[in-house]
C-alpha cells in the first residue's frame, strides 16, 4: 500500500503526482522502489479525481 499512501501524501501537499515525486517519497521512506509499479500507479490515477475518491471513502463510516 506504500505506493498509494505516497500518492495521497503528494495529493495533500499539493505536489504533482508524477513518477519522480512518487519515487522520491518512497525512497525517503527506505522503500525498494519498483519503477513499473510507480508507472502503473500514475497511469491508473490519470483519470481519477482523488478528492472525490477520498471523499467517497469518507462517506463510508470509518471504523472507530
Amino acid at each position: 500500500m506504500e505506493y498509494v499512501y505516497a500518492a495521497l501524501i503528494l495529493h495533500e501537499t499539493g505536489e504533482e503526482l508524477n513518477e519522480d515525486n512518487l519515487t522520491a517519497v518512497l525512497e525517503s521512506a527506505g522503500a525498494d522502489v519498483e519503477e513499473s509499479r510507480v508507472k502503473a500507479l500514475v497511469a491508473a490515477l490519470e483519470d481519477v479525481d482523488i478528492e472525490e475518491a477520498v471523499a467517497e471513502a469518507a462517506a463510508v463510516p470509518a471504523g472507530g
Partner: protein
C-alpha cells in the same frame, strides 16, 4: 450396401432429392434433426419463413433423409430420424440454433388424452367467469376456486397436473375456458452436429442468468485481486485511494492523532464514548440532564 449400387436402383426424383439434401447438409456449419410432429403445415410454413436468413428447414421422407445423412458422413444423426422430422441447417452455432428454435415456439392448447409436457398451473386470480357450475369444474380439475365478489376466483396458484400425466376431459375443458395454452409448439431439436460433435438438446440449453452471474463474480474477483494486491487499474485506483485514506483515518482516530483533519472525528468519538459510558450507568442522579434517558442503540 454401398451408396454406389443404391444410386442405380432409385428413381431419378429420389436421386435428385437426396443430392439436394446432401448439398444442403454440406453447406451449413451446423445441421440438426428437428421433430415436427403435431405442427400443422400452415404453421410449419410460417416457421420456415421466420427462420429464413438464420436457418433452413427441409422436410422429406425419412428414408431419403437417412440416405442423405449417410452420403454426407452424418450417420451419427440417423438415430434421430424417426416419426415426423425435418432437417435444419444453420451457420449459427448449435447453441444459437437451439435458442432461435426455442424462441420461435408458440403456446398451444392441450387436448384431453394428451400428456402434459410440463406442470400445468392455473394461476391465482379472477377468472372473469360468472358464478355457475364452472366453479365445480375448476375444483374437480384440482384448482382452489370459489365464488367471490360476484365471479369465480382462483384463490392461489394451483398445479393441476404434473409433467407426464394425462390430461382429463374436465381439465381440457377448464383450460380451454380459461384460455390457458400449456403446450409449446415448435421445432423440437433432437440433435445437432457441428464441427465433429453431436449435441443433445439438454447440452444446448443455456442458463443465461448463470453466465451473467459468472461474469459478475469474475469482475468482482478481479477487482478484489486488484485492490488486495494493490495493483491499481483505472477502475480500481479510486477504490485503493479510498481504502488508503480510510486506513489513515482509522489509525488516526484509534491513536487519537491530533490532526486538523481528524479533529471533528475525535470530538465525535469522545462524545460517543461519553454517551456509551452514560448508558452503562444505572444511577440517573450521577448523570447530567443531557445524558439521562439515552436510548440504548440497537
Amino acid at each position: 450396401m454401398s451408396a454406389e449400387r443404391k444410386t442405380k436402383t432409385i428413381p431419378d426424383w429420389k436421386r435428385e432429392e437426396v443430392d439436394d439434401i446432401v448439398g444442403m447438409l454440406d453447406s451449413y456449419e451446423s445441421v440438426g434433426i428437428v421433430n415436427i410432429a403435431g405442427i400443422p403445415s400452415r404453421q410449419l410454413q410460417d416457421m420456415r419463413r421466420e427462420l429464413h436468413g438464420s436457418a433452413e428447414l427441409r422436410v422429406s421422407r425419412n428414408t431419403l433423409l437417412k440416405r442423405a445423412l449417410a452420403e454426407a458422413d452424418l450417420d451419427v444423426l440417423s438415430e434421430h430420424v424417426h416419426g415426423q422430422v425435418g432437417i435444419i441447417g444453420t451457420n449459427d452455432n448449435p447453441f444459437g440454433l437451439f435458442k432461435t428454435l426455442e424462441a420461435s415456439k408458440t403456446p398451444a392448447p392441450i387436448g384431453a388424452g394428451e400428456i402434459a409436457p410440463n406442470d400445468i398451473v392455473i394461476p391465482e386470480g379472477d377468472t372473469g367467469v360468472d358464478p355457475g357450475p364452472f366453479v365445480g369444474d375448476l375444483q374437480q380439475a384440482g384448482a382452489a376456486a370459489r365464488i367471490m365478489d360476484g365471479s369465480i376466483q382462483v384463490t392461489e396458484d394451483s398445479t393441476v397436473l404434473e409433467a407426464g400425466e394425462e390430461v382429463s376431459q374436465v381439465l381440457a375443458n377448464v383450460l380451454t375456458e380459461l384460455g390457458i395454452e400449456p403446450k409449446e409448439v415448435g421445432l423440437d431439436l433432437r440433435g445437432v452436429y457441428s464441427d465433429g460433435v453431436v449435441f443433445s438438446p439438454e447440452e444446448l440449453e443455456i442458463d443465461v442468468d448463470e453466465y451473467r452471474a459468472d461474469i459478475e463474480s469474475a469482475v468482482a474477483g478481479a477487482r478484489n485481486l486488484s485492490v488486495n494486491a494493490v495493483y491499481p487499474t483505472a477502475q480500481t485506483a479510486g477504490i485503493l485511494l479510498g481504502k488508503a485514506s480510510g486506513e489513515a483515518k482509522a489509525l488516526g482516530i484509534h491513536a487519537a492523532i491530533e490532526s486538523p483533519d481528524l479533529a471533528d472525528d475525535l470530538v465525535a468519538k469522545a462524545d460517543a464514548q461519553l454517551r456509551a459510558l452514560a448508558v452503562a450507568i444505572d444511577d440517573e442522579e450521577a448523570l447530567p440532564e443531557e445524558l439521562r434517558d439515552i436510548e440504548v442503540p440497537e
